[in-house]
Amino acid sequence: MDTFLGLYNYWIYVGLLVVGLYAVLLKGNYIKRMIGLGIFQAAVFLLFISMDKVEGGTGPIFRYGQDITTIFANPLPQVLILTAIVVSIAVTALGLALAIRIKEEYGSIEESDTLRADRDE
């Protein structure tokens, strides 16, 4: 049981990684692929944040009059992921802008349609 709960977050991370990658590789719709990319990124976020937890610890923000023996979580993974979340939304916005332009030029956001249009030219 202890092993199960101790590793459960890693298994969920593997699941998210595979689900996200599935959408990116095997779905033909470009916006669905952006959604898959978001899930893939979230899987990486989850892996990093799982690392920061220390048993019996608390968030790495000091308090007045705290006990000298207080254990704090690891701040470093949090810093990396904090910035990565905002970068991920910026990247998603860029991908969505590309999808909008593809729709305007090809009339569709399906990969099969755009490939066919490219072949016919």
Binding site: T58, G59, I61, R63
Partner: protein
């Protein structure tokens, strides 16, 4: 007691999630999301007390403010379907609900 409250909130989220999965119409799904959003606000406040860090309630406050934006965006998207797709214009264009 706080653990029980957290469990109750999570069970309710699960129920709302299954309504979202089953929900025949889009509105059932929006209702489920709205409900899960409110439950998240409560869950975050309860966890802040459970972890004895009441100074982290800022997070619940952020969600209480932000959830509204998501729901408004979803509803605006649904209400403007007519403009994007002229075939549904007739049913959606009246601002007043249909007379019973």
């Amino acid at each position: 007691m706080l653990e029980v409250c957290g469990l109750a909130l999570l069970v309710t989220m699960g129920l709302a999630l299954s309504r979202g999965v089953l929900g025949p119409s889009i509105f059932d799904r929006v209702l489920a999301v709205n409900m899960i959003g409110t439950k998240t606000v409560l869950l975050l406040s309860v966890i802040a007390f459970l972890y004895d860090r009441p100074d982290f309630i800022d997070l619940a406050l952020a969600y209480a403010l932000i959830n509204f934006i998501g729901v408004m965006a979803i509803l605006q998207f649904v209400q403007n379907k007519a403009l994007r797709n002229p075939s549904v214009e007739k049913t959606v264009s009246q601002d007043r609900p249909p007379e019973a």
